[in-house]
């Protein structure tokens, strides 16, 4: 197994463990749900140390079951991406000789995630003016806002700059398919974007799940 695939597996298992452990502190619909969440945490930790396609597939099924129980998703897009990355990891462990196909799937999924996210924002004029981001930040300011939340809520020009940067990053991400040398720069930008999303909106799950795919993206063209 290549080093990037090993890294992918470790980071993905870490992300799934974190999701499951966090979920244990959230109310469950039934005790069976809580037991399955605990099982997911244990299996993800096991798969982190001993990767096996059977474990990866079972984790994917548990993640899917969890999303269905939560009427579609517990934490939005990160649940769906976790499921698809687990399926890709299962395929890469099962068909080691043709892992380039699962790698292509991961690259397509992540590229599509950024591009669709950018496109869905770009059709709204208020995203280009910075008003949409300003509104989202004001809506999500907690009782004890972070410094970044306070700064962006006050300085409109910073909001406009941040919104423009997000749109540019997400819409132009597919350029990395045409010019792979751009990939490390884009992934660095992605890290900043996800860390910013964590600071502003508490989206730590998104940070870890997208980060898990980065070794595959970096290695894909090399």
């Amino acid at each position: 197994m290549s080093q990037s695939m090993q890294m992918f597996g470790v980071l993905l298992c870490w992300a799934v463990t974190l999701q499951a452990v966090e979920q244990l502190a959230i109310p469950a619909r039934h005790w069976v749900d809580r037991a399955l969440t605990g099982l997911r945490a244990v299996l993800a930790l096991t798969a982190l140390v001993m990767p096996h396609w059977g474990l990866a597939l079972f984790l994917a099924l548990l993640c899917y079951q969890n999303s269905v129980r939560w009427n579609g998703s517990l934490n939005g897009g990160s649940d769906g991406v976790t499921l698809h990355l687990l399926l890709a990891w299962t395929a890469s462990l099962l068909f080691t000789d043709s892992s380039h196909i699962s790698n292509l799937y991961v690259v397509s999924l992540i590229t599509l995630s950024y591009f669709v996210a950018g496109l869905s924002k770009a059709v709204h004029l208020n995203w280009w003016t910075g008003e949409a981001l300003n509104k989202i930040i004001s809506q999500s300011v907690a009782a004890c806002p972070s410094r970044l939340q306070r700064l962006l809520a006050k300085k409109f020009w910073l909001c406009r700059l941040a919104a423009g940067s997000v749109l540019l990053f997400e819409l132009s991400f597919p350029l990395t398919l045409l010019k792979p040398t751009l990939m490390p720069w884009y992934l660095a930008g992605g890290l900043v974007l996800h860390f910013g999303n964590y600071l502003l909106f508490g989206l730590n799950r998104f940070f870890w799940v997208w980060l898990a795919a980065y070794p595959v993206l970096l290695d894909f063209y090399s």
């Binding site: 974190l18 999701q19 452990v21 966090e22 979920q23 502190a25 959230i26 109310p27 619909r29 899917y64 999303s67 269905v68 939560w70 009427n71 579609g72 998703s73 517990l74 934490n75 939005g76 897009g77 649940d79 769906g80 991406v81 499921l83 698809h84 599509l112 995630s113 950024y114 669709v116 996210a117 869905s120 924002k121 059709v123 709204h124 208020n126 995203w127 949409a132 981001l133 509104k135 989202i136 809506q139 999500s140 300011v141 907690a142 009782a143 004890c144 972070s146 964590y198 600071l199 909106f201 508490g202 989206l203 730590n204 799950r205 940070f207």
Partner: protein, 125 residues
């Protein structure tokens, strides 16, 4: 569980923060004399939140539950049977219990663009 839920769980949505103007609002109050509280007010971020962030995960779960519920047809007679409604109730009750509200009744209202689209009460017993 319906085909829509099975499909929604399989196909990830990448439309993040695209339309802040039509985000649904969720308000709650314990007594009818009290002011409405924003039930989607986010919790403070802890310094270790990148590694363990259950209150924010619960906050996003509540927000998702609301959006998923509004994607299903809202029939007032069938409402208590809807999975989305049950999840919303579960999360709201858990929050109220944590705040020490363990008896009485709470009123809940859902608004879209400032208009009430659904209201119901929660038994805290």
């Amino acid at each position: 569980m319906n085909a829509h839920t099975l499909l929604r769980s399989l196909i990830p949505s990448f439309r993040f923060f695209d339309q802040p103007d039509i985000e649904p609002q969720l308000h709650i109050r314990i007594h009818s004399q009290q002011d409405w509280q924003d039930a989607l007010a986010p919790p403070p971020l802890k310094w270790y939140g990148l590694f363990y962030n259950p209150r924010w995960a619960e906050h996003h779960a509540l927000s998702n539950a609301l959006k998923n519920l509004l994607q299903d047809p809202l029939d007032s007679e069938r409402l208590p049977q809807l999975t989305g409604f049950q999840i919303l109730k579960l999360l709201l009750l858990a929050r109220l219990y944590r705040q020490g509200c363990r008896a009485g009744e709470a009123e809940v209202r859902i608004q879209l663009r400032g208009e009430d689209i659904l209201s119901f009460s929660l038994e805290l017993a």
